[in-house]
Amino acid sequence: MSTAISTAEEVHTHDHDHDHEHHELGFIRTYIFSEDHKTIAKQYLISGILWAFLGGSLSILFRLQLGFPEMSMEWLRPLLGGWIDDSGKLDKEFYLAMVTMHGTIMVFFVLTAGLSGTFSNFLIPLQVGARDMASGFINMLSYWFFFLSSVIMFSSLFIETGPASGGWVIYPPLSALPQAMPGSGLGMTLWLTSMTFFIVSSLMGGINYICTIINLRTRGMTFTRMPLTIWSFFFTAVLGLLSFPVLLSAALLLIFDRSFGTSFYLSEIYIQGQALPNVGGSAILYQHLFWFLGHPEVYIVLLPALGMTSEIIATNSRKPIFGYRAMIGSMMGITALAFIVWAHHMFVTGMNPFLGSVFMFLTLIIAVPSAVKAFNYITTLWKGNLVFTPAMLFSIGLVSLFISGGVTGIILGNSALDINLHDTYFVVAHFHLVMGAASFFGLMAGVYHWFPKMFGRMMNKSLGYIHFWFTFVGVYMVFFPMHYIGIAGFPRRYYTFTALGNDSMAAFTDMNMFISIAAIITFSAQAIFAWNFFYSIFKGKIAPANPWNSNTLEWTTPINPEHGNWPGEIPAVYRWPYDYSKPGAPEDFIPQNVPHSATLESNLPEENAEIAREKDIEGLLGAQNESYTH
């Protein structure tokens, strides 16, 4: 790894012959079926934002039901029609449908596609120093498969029997039997179809991310000089590539069970006065397959957020990230462990208790690399010189949410304690903090930080601060008290809690109302962001070339990078990305493309040896250019 080997001759699998000359592409090729990674990233981002508003508004609808169970929803009839029942209340099946779609949309369409899709696409070529993704065409296909998947999922909201309603995990037999609930009919078919395309999309994206990171790094960009963002995208892509196919097989088997009479998941079922012929299947098999993706999925949404915030916190603390290698190591550890903890979602499914012990042990190990990451973040802030840009605020928010949500994972990962907490609001609070809100904060931090690079304009900072404080306080007001409801034993996915009996519902009436109001305020505050985002695209202040005085390569491109990213040669990389506030240096940052020979006053003793290697790095220019020409 001492010298960069960024030459990949086999890069050009696609046959269109651009030589980085500006040949004008039409509107459609520039903005719609674009192969430019920056455009694709923006497509993902805007789709993700739209999905986030939809997913969020669904949660507001069911929070209204939970917070104000007595309220008449008649006023929603113009919007929801028959989903408001005759008594003016939300239909019970529609309640489950909303819970399901909220989860599906947020996990897959917002935090996987919107977060990883946006920033992996945008930042990988810019930060490793590549002209574009390894395959622009596959990258384009990846977005359009995602788009197709979105259209199908969206359309399922409008069918008469309603969208999928069995929870976002769609456990069979509920999801396999249309007679079990209306949502398991056409809605579930559409769900499965949509997810199939979604998986195809994310596989194409993932392959591209991995290839680009391995093959297209600029000269000098060794693995140990890569920004942590790139490391996190790399691990994310590996996770996705290895686990999404398993979800695809789970979905395919479910499709077979639903449509072709197989019995992979079905056995000995008597429903609606009818004994089904299926025997020998296992409903638990589905859960194993689902969570084999489902658990890595947690890290698929979280790792990019952690990577981006590492970058943002280092930049805005004006300090190197503390423990760069430990950060990589802990992400590597999390990635590896992510594959072998899935059954902690299944402690009480009737799985062999011995497996429960094994998975408890493996699950609690994950706390160690996670703790290392949290401590490294905190130490990065220590003796820094913190600039609170909106991105920095959201990053600090992420660290706090990651800790607060993470610690309860230690409780839930303990199989003995999980018995009582499983499927209660304690779990809901836990994963919303550590995975939902933390990843969302990463997404927001990323948008605020890289907006100038994306659109050449600045977002309004003051609105950013207001947005942050509303969201941060709001998220804690929603999810912190939710733990209490969980400790009180309230199960999730309940339309109302009357059947718990003993007035236990009354005990938390106020609390549920409080959570719902807080959720509404938090959700409404996102309008500030939406306005700021869309307004700034067109009317924001023109961005300077390097607005945050950052070291990474994307800030060496022109303010509005064209296709190919750098008009001239791609810069070489001579140092790691975290030379902030280096003693002796005149500025408090030294970009990665500044050679050590130019910074004699601030070089550490061992870095003077790097000067001799600069020639080798320069020598790779020819080979690098070669790889881009046909």
Binding site: L96, G166, M181, S267, E268, I269, I271, Q272, V279, A283, S317, K319, F322, G323, M360, L364, A367, V368, A371, F375, Y377, I378, T379, L381, W382, N385, L386, V387, F388, T389, V399, S400, I403, S404, T408, I410, I411, N414, A416, L417, N420, H422, K461, V473, Y476, M477, P491, R493, Y494, L500, G501, N502, D503, M511, I517, A518, I521, W548, Y580, D588
Partner: protein, 359 residues
């Protein structure tokens, strides 16, 4: 109501902050101190201070709300293992709350303390192996302790049920629970077969198995206090999950795959009523695996009786065969004589299998 007041307070707090911020900005604009090109603006200090204020308010409101919600948490567990897991829960909570408190405090305090100051330079401090080692090893040790205690408790809970356990079958269906007892004679549940389910025999009890002759069904769950109870759990249509909140019992009901959970109830219904001062208190079985429209309402009542009351109640129950003598036809000829024992002279044709079902 308290929450609403708290919420309004927070809202007004933010309105106040934003008004102040606006006026600061206006003031700066007027006096022309805002440096347009600097990455650091005049809100930097405010944001840094807000971080600390946020955390202080968080700790105060968080502690207050916890104390406020505490009376509504599940009261002390009504089962032997539940007391152990409750203790472990609260001791684990103490450990993680400590970690949560320390790390968040450092985070917000550092954010406040090291907010930008143009006269200061950040310390170039990229690595310290000793520190890394310390905060790898300490969490690892804590985790090891938690895993070990957790594993021991888990092992005990999931161990083989004692042979004297009362065997009770709970079968989930959309949307209710069927209860079947092993009966007084043999103490063993007879086989069931989902293909034998009909309107009366809603469990599909297989009368070719002689163990089924004395089985009786019920619409509520009666448990003997202080004695081990083995729940044999089934589902007929989709996944369900048996949840007895007060007994800290939870186990999924899976079609085609019987599951089980054994435990020892330690507090009778009467004792719990007295303890809570609620004369109409009842234990419940609820469902915690989403199963469709009526999921939230899928509950039956549980009575934990003193052992002698339980015995009395069991003795009063009539075997399914006794209340539905028509099913004698299903019994193979060689067992007819044994089965006929349970048939009363005057057959009563009622259906006792229908459990509470909620839509």
């Amino acid at each position: 109501m308290n929450y609403l007041i708290g919420l309004l307070a927070i809202v007004f707090f933010f309105l106040a902050v934003s008004v102040i911020a606006k006026s600061v900005k206006l003031n700066n604009k007027l006096s022309g101190t805002e440096d347009e090109d600097s990455t650091v603006d005049n809100f930097n200090n405010a944001n840094g201070i807000a971080m600390l204020i946020f955390w202080l308010l968080f700790v105060i409101l968080g502690s207050w709300s916890f104390m406020n919600a505490r009376p509504d948490f599940l009261p002390i567990a009504a089962s032997e293992h539940g007391v152990k897991t409750d203790n472990m829960f609260w001791s684990s909570m103490a450990v993680v709350t400590f970690a949560f408190f320390i790390s968040n405090t450092l985070l917000f305090y550092f954010a406040f303390k090291y907010r930008f100051n143009k006269n200061r330079k950040a310390t170039f401090y990229p690595v310290n192996h000793k520190l890394e080692l310390i905060w790898t090893v300490i969490p690892a040790i804590v985790m090891a302790v938690l895993v070990f205690t957790g594993w021991r408790t888990w092992r005990d809970i999931t161990s083989q049920a004692p042979s004297n356990a009362a065997v009770i079958e709970l079968t989930g269906h959309q949307f209710g629970w069927f209860v079947r007892y092993a009966g007084v004679e043999d103490g063993e549940l007879g086989n069931v077969n989902y293909k034998l389910i009909d309107d009366t025999n809603s469990l599909g009890i297989d009368f070719t198995d002689k163990n089924s002759f004395d089985d009786f069904t019920a619409t509520e769950l009666h448990l003997p206090k202080g004695q081990p109870v083995l729940l044999k759990i089934r589902a007929q249509d989709v996944l369900h999950s048996v949840y007895l909140p007060f007994h800290r019992v939870k186990m999924d009901a899976v079609p085609g795959m019987p599951t089980k959970f054994w435990f020892v109830p330690t507090i009778s219904t009467d004792e719990m009523r007295a303890k809570l001062g609620k004369p109409d208190f009842n234990f419940k079985v609820n469902c915690t695996e989403v199963c469709g429209r009526g999921h939230f309402g899928m509950s039956i009542t549980v009575f934990v009786d003193e052992p002698e009351d339980y015995k009395k109640w069991v003795a009063e129950q009539k075997p399914f065969l006794a209340t539905n003598p028509a099913y004698l036809d299903k019994v193979p000829t060689n067992l007819k004589a044994k089965a006929s024992k349970y048939i009363p002279i005057e057959p009563i044709a009622t259906d006792s299998t229908e459990a509470v079902s909620v839509n």
